[in-house]
């Protein structure tokens, strides 16, 4: 979609309307289509709680992806959030053993601070988030190794409450995923119906314009990264819920790229100003579905990463929010 479209009044308008319509349903449709395909090829999969499996493995991806899309929405990117997830999970496991039931709240506060530090550095030193969070990524990773003593930390007590998030659920949907959906709804409401939310989108669409509208762009960036940190922390919580333990290289250590992929499959624009947290839910589901599906329908294990790559490209091509910006980068 070229400059011409966005300039031509009526024609562009029509295109834009169609694009908007597809934007709002695309990710859902794509996921359902993929899921239906699997269900048809292996009917038993659906019968035996296939939904539960996809949902539970999508939970952590979803939470990380939500944080990522909030950051992408202001035109930045957070490469450190997955490492915050792991660090958070490890700290949570340790603190549950020591300080007990209040641990989750404290840890969520701590990881939010980690995020805030990212944001403060980016907002007030004005360095590109891509490079900066690449740096903090390394730092958080080291921190995870150091605090865990480079080994697996198990939750020995006070873990029941959190573990039940994974084991229990409503209609086969584990609470970890439900938690993600709640977060998505809150994020959606925040972006659509609050001034800070709208202002964040404004930053993503045109930062100079936002500055000259008297918006506190710096602090909103800090907020976006803080939320990213907080949601990464929640993801860490789901890791504990699922595994009852955490380790620097264990479950959840590879959430970064799936997280970004989920955000973009969910229709988030990588150049900022366009996101819909509700669609990110389906983005996460789609991303989580691919490896499961390839195992379920019996794609030869050698070829599975090939399939994964292709599916990601195709789904994004289908769900892309092209009307968002004339230039694709």
């Amino acid at each position: 979609m070229t400059a011409a479209v966005s300039k031509s009044p009526a024609g562009g308008n029509l295109k834009a309307k169609l694009a908007k319509a597809w934007q709002s349903v695309g990710p859902l449709v794509v996921f359902l289509a993929m899921f239906a395909l699997v269900a048809i090829m292996t009917p038993t999969f659906l019968a035996n709680g296939g939904v539960t499996i996809v949902a539970s493995s999508a939970a952590s991806v979803l939470l990380v992806a939500l944080g990522q899309s909030l950051v992408l929405n202001i035109g930045s990117i957070d490469l450190s959030n997955a490492s915050i997830t792991i660090l958070g999970a490890i700290l949570l496991a340790m603190s549950l053993n020591s300080i007990g039931a209040v641990a989750p709240l404290i840890i969520l506060l701590v990881v939010s601070i980690f995020g805030a530090v990212n944001g403060l550095l980016i907002a007030f030193t004005q360095v590109p988030s891509f490079a900066l969070t690449l740096g903090t990524f390394g730092i958080f990773q080291s921190a995870a190794l150091v605090v865990s003593g480079a080994t697996t930390v198990y939750v020995k007590q006070n873990g029941e409450g959190i573990k039940s998030l994974y084991q229990s659920g409503i209609g086969g949907i584990p609470m970890t995923f439900a938690l993600g959906v709640i977060a998505a709804v809150l994020a959606w409401w925040f972006l659509r119906f609050t001034r800070p939310g709208l202002a964040m989108t404004a930053i993503g669409k045109n930062e100079s314009g936002a500055i000259f509208s008297g918006i506190r762009t710096r602090w909103l960036k800090v907020l976006a990264f803080t939320m990213s940190g907080f949601l990464a922390g929640l993801a860490g919580l789901t890791i504990i819920a699922q595994a009852g333990s955490a380790s620097p290289m264990g479950l959840g250590s590879d959430l970064l790229l799936p997280g970004i992929a989920a955000a973009i499959v969910g229709g988030t624009s990588i150049s900022g100003g366009v996101t819909n947290p509700l669609n990110v839910v389906f983005g996460a589901l789609s991303v989580a579905l691919v490896p499961i599906a390839s195992a379920a329908v019996g794609v030869p294990s050698q070829a599975q990463s090939l399939v994964y790559g292709l599916v990601i490209i195709v789904t994004v091509a289908l769900t892309l929010s092209r009307s968002s910006n004339s230039i694709v980068k």
């Binding site: 996809v54 080994t151 609470m175 907020l223 929640l234 699922q242 333990s245 380790s247």
Partner: protein, 382 residues
């Protein structure tokens, strides 16, 4: 919009979310069912071998062993490639469980922490599983029930001790060596390293470890790290200890480029085909001086056969002695001159599997059951 409202926002979200989650915790259904232990019919079974990746020689052997056994017992086989990711591993296993057939499963866990989730899921689906190499010490098969048939491994301490002594002897019981462990939080690697130190502290006080850099089972990384260590310690390095043969490949390449291959001795674990080839070709004039022998196809066959027996009711796990639920299998120290005695097994995998089926999982040469886990990692003083 004021700064205050911004800063209070996350707090509000925390409040909301914790409220929400606490709400849902009360009174909601459980998705984990009760595992059945009634004997299953052979035709209902599907065999599953889960490996961390399909390209590492050891995991390739895992698959081989599973294929042979599956053919002998004539049960369909499914391969799970975890692609090095716990999440992929778990969800793929769940996907296969969801297909409805009862599984007889062997899992080479990506991380110890994956074991609880996996065994619980298998239990819920009424399948039978053995875990190899990595599990939390707290996770006792007996506590989980019959569906978690056994945890099995070769002693890492022995492996480390055996290679350490071979290396020390080869360099004349004194001098500096470097160590390249695997992924940092892998118990397998940790126990092997511990075994090495134990041996050195006990019998080779004059052999010192100059440096220890984790190289994540990655030949390329081992190659890079070795290069740095060569630059750092130069000819102070008399020997190289690596936690598996994959990293040994990288290390040897680095010393070859530095023209030191003939001056330095190498030991490692696993006796991979590549290592065998290097020994046969007398690389670096006998650079490799010690190895351990244990085989991926043996591990997977033992694991799967144990689970199979439990599945068809041949054995009742609950009545088994502790060492058969949390087992250590023999691992042999090999010196280059007598590798052929061991390679003979590789030439006849089928034959070996036959003897396994004949003798049962616990006493088949060269890897009989030798002890009970869990292996305690000794704490070093100094």
């Amino acid at each position: 919009m004021s700064l205050k409202s911004i800063l209070t926002k996350p707090v509000r979200m925390i409040a909301a979310l914790t409220l929400a989650s606490s709400l849902v915790l009360t009174g909601c259904t459980s998705t984990t069912g009760e595992g059945s232990t009634a004997p299953l019919k052979k035709e209902d079974l599907v065999m599953v071998v889960s490996v961390i990746n399909t390209t590492n020689p050891y995991f390739a052997a895992n698959i081989l062993g599973a294929q042979v056994l599956a053919k002998k017992l004539d049960i369909p086989l499914e391969i799970v490639d975890s692609q090095g990711s716990s999440q992929v591993e778990i969800s793929k296993i769940q996907a296969i469980l969801a297909k409805g057939k009862k599984v007889v499963m062997f899992v080479n866990t990506v991380a110890s922490s994956d074991a609880p989730t996996i065994v619980n899921d298998v239990k819920a689906a009424g399948g039978f599983v053995t875990i190899w190499w990595n599990k939390p010490d707290e996770l006792n098969p007996a506590d989980v029930g019959n569906n978690f048939v056994a945890f099995q491994k070769h002693s890492g301490l022995e492996s480390g001790a055996c290679t350490a002594s071979a290396l020390s002897e080869a360099i004349g019981k004194e001098g500096g060596i470097i160590a390249l462990p695997g992924v940092q939080d892998s118990t397998t690697s940790a126990t092997r390293v511990a075994g090495m130190y134990q041996e050195l502290d006990a019998n080779y006080p004059n052999v010192t470890v100059l440096d220890e850099i984790p190289s994540n089972w990655d030949p390329q990384l081992a190659y890079k790290n070795s290069k740095d260590l060569i630059a750092k310690h130069g000819d102070k390095i008399k020997g190289v200890w690596t936690a598996d043969d994959g990293m040994q490949i990288g290390a040897m390449q680095a010393f070859k480029e530095a023209g030191l291959l003939e001056k330095v001795k190498f030991v490692s674990d696993g006796l991979y085909p590549e290592t065998v080839a290097a020994i046969k070709a007398n690389e670096g004039n006998g650079a490799i001086v010690g190895e351990t022998f244990h085989r991926g196809y043996m591990a997977s066959a033992i694991g799967l056969y144990t689970a199979y027996l439990a599945a068809i009711g041949e054995i009742d796990p609950s009545t088994l002695p502790a060492e058969k639920r949390d087992s250590l299998f023999a691992i042999s120290c090999v010196t280059p001159d007598k590798i052929d005695e061991y390679l003979k097994w590789d030439n006849d995998v089928e034959g070996w599997v036959d003897t396994l089926i004949e003798n049962g999982p616990w006493d088949t040469a060269p890897v009989p059951l030798v002890g009970a886990g869990p292996e305690q990692i000794p704490t070093r003083n100094n």
